[in-house]
Amino acid sequence: MSHVWRPLYVVLGIVAAILIARFFVVPPQFGVWERGYMYGWHNKAAETWWANFRVGYKGREYCKDCHPDNYNKIMASPHKIIECEDCHGPAIGHPDNPPKLEIIKSRLLCLRCHTKLPYPTSLRSQLPGFLNPDEHNPGIECVSCHDPHSPVLGGK
């Protein structure tokens, strides 16, 4: 009779081996919660990993103590809706590393908002801007005349 049962033992052995392997391979924090096996997978370790990802953008309150002039200037201008780090890049590590944040002087930075696009149902068409920016002092950086922290010429 034993030759009849032998395959069963082999199968049981394989099942046991897989279960033992799984015990070591599957991280202990894998699980499933109330939502069940379709959408309820969970992995606490990965959740913690993502929660601990480094924060790059610090917000203008982080800038204001060392750069009060620029902070106060922009907060009094129509550009106050723009965060410092939008143009200067994330402040992570600054001022240790990098000691200076980038200052983009390209016209293209300004034209992100100030190319006038005739799109009637979009706020874009209501922003001050140029339909043909190339006709407005071509080849000169916008910052030659306009201070981005206080952009309107001749005061606010």
Binding site: L12, G31, V32, Y57, G59, L123, R124, L131
Partner: protein, 257 residues
Amino acid sequence: MSLERRQFLKIMGTTAAGAGMLGAFRFLEKGEATQILGSGNPNQKWVFLVNTYNCVGCGMCVRACKLENEIPYNAPVSRTWVERYVELNSGKVLADSPMAARDGFTADNPMGKTVNPADITKAFFVPKLCNQCEKPPCVQNCPVGATFSTKEGIVLVDRTWCIGCGYCIMSCPYGVRFFHPVYHVAEKCTWCYHRITKGLKPACVFACPFGARQIGNPQDLNDPVTKTIATQRVAVLKDEYGTKPQVFYLGLDRIVR
């Protein structure tokens, strides 16, 4: 085939031992997992509101997202992007999103074409990002359980566990997922999970000067975003897929895909 009593008992014993072993190595069951994982804050969920009327297509959100989440800046992939839709009087729709609108829209050249402003019926910008579906097909499809929903409804990917098969990328109706060019695993928008869990706004919401992107807590009825979704006429993308997306749009149009 006759079975002797001794043999029968032996088989039963082996089976019982096997069952016992199964018990020792089984997966965390529903209740147990909740106990171990912690239930989190039951009053915290996340919902996203996009006001397309306010989007000017500056692309600051995309730039901020790429820099915040360390997505290679010059790679043609992005966790979020802004689409431009231009519908002409002829009924033709021009839609584009060059480099995910990382550098904004600085010229009136939808799909590289010159358009006469008089020919435009309507034109607007639509920011896109992960919908953090309540029924995420990407979670359902992952063969190794590398992607999952958190209690607050954010879908995350375990980079150490993803095998890079790409099923989730294929299954997302919104085309949100892509392969991370450095880690070679599935990558997706997390609504900046590391920021919202610390009380900060996602990088794209933070970077938007016009309030076109907002995030809120649908469990909190006094939350302005929740109030807007409850009282205004909002729409979601591809409702027919039954994924229950959690990004709500003000000013969505039938030409938006």
